[in-house]
Symmetry: C2
């Protein structure tokens, strides 16, 4: 409560889920900039930050990737507890871990953003060259190719980055979060 007054808004977790290359980190990064410039306390949490620290003991098996997402969710919760708007960008392919994080957050403080870009588009982009490697069987259990992705059933927001521009997505995102922040004040 006191922290909410200090920051002028309650903490929350905005969770971006979707395939590799869907545009999660791009959206989250640009949204962090917008929030920061508005004077809000925002923090981008992504796999790269955790993989070199908290999750350095984990590999890329399905079990380890689930644990990676679980820990990411717990860190996001702690950060949200401090009053931050946490922008978490993780493939997080399974509904279970996403739902567990939601269940642990106060109502309305978990916003699931489904970055629903078709696998064909992601594979075409292949910014990190991961799809090529997955097709060549160099990466086992690659989400969307050789491992399932469970789409959110009822996400707060859905984006098709192959149909909407990043700018359009950001406007919708901003409107939604703005309303949520106002409601929680």
């Amino acid at each position: 409560m006191e922290r909410t007054r200090r920051f002028g808004h309650p903490g929350m977790v905005v969770w971006f889920t979707g395939l590799s290359g869907a545009g999660k980190t791009t959206l989250a990064t640009q949204f962090e900039r917008i929030l920061f410039d508005q004077g809000r306390a925002a923090y981008l949490l992504d796999g790269d930050i955790l993989r070199t620290g908290l999750c350095q003991d984990l590999g890329f098996s399905i079990i380890d990737r689930r644990e990676n997402v679980r820990r990411a969710g717990e860190v996001a919760r702690v950060l949200a507890d401090t009053g931050f708007i946490v922008l978490a960008a993780f493939i997080s392919p399974f509904a279970l871990e996403r739902d567990q994080i939601r269940a642990k957050m106060p109502p309305g403080r978990f916003v699931e953003v489904y970055v629903n870009t078709p696998v064909e588009t992601c594979e075409q982009r292949d910014v990190k060259g991961l799809y090529r490697k997955a097709r060549a069987n160099l990466i086992p259990d690659f989400t969307g190719i050789s491992s399932p992705y469970e789409p959110p059933v009822d996400p707060e927001l859905k984006f098709r980055t192959d149909q909407e521009s990043i700018e359009q997505c950001l406007i919708r995102l901003q409107e939604f979060i703005e309303n949520r922040l106002r409601a929680g004040r």
Copy 2:
């Protein structure tokens, strides 16, 4: 850099180490209040917060307790990266994990506070009844009784809560952190 300007101070980790019952959480909790009232962004991180979330998969074997401290350090780093003054209160009996966290922080941003209360005093207090249980062999590997505590060699601050009052400790703590914050601005 931008975050430092926003909060008016850089993030840092103030790490309280010492035996169970030494007064780590008491000191950290009261110091958090002082910092908050000064308008600073402070956050208390202790075992209870993590044990029910991030570290719920861990037990109390020496290996698990080391992993618990490692994860706590990584969370503290993330929080400090957002600009928070993190007050971390963990027995953290081994020098290795404490030194690893220090090594990962920018110079001057890790402050080790050795709450050096003699085991006899801690055992007399026995607020949680843990020493009694440890003496009855109900808790294996209990720090100070059946498991070693490696004192910090060169901590930034040292307190003897059996000789100094909490108020005296807080004054010294406040002075030290104030100087560090000013230096980092």
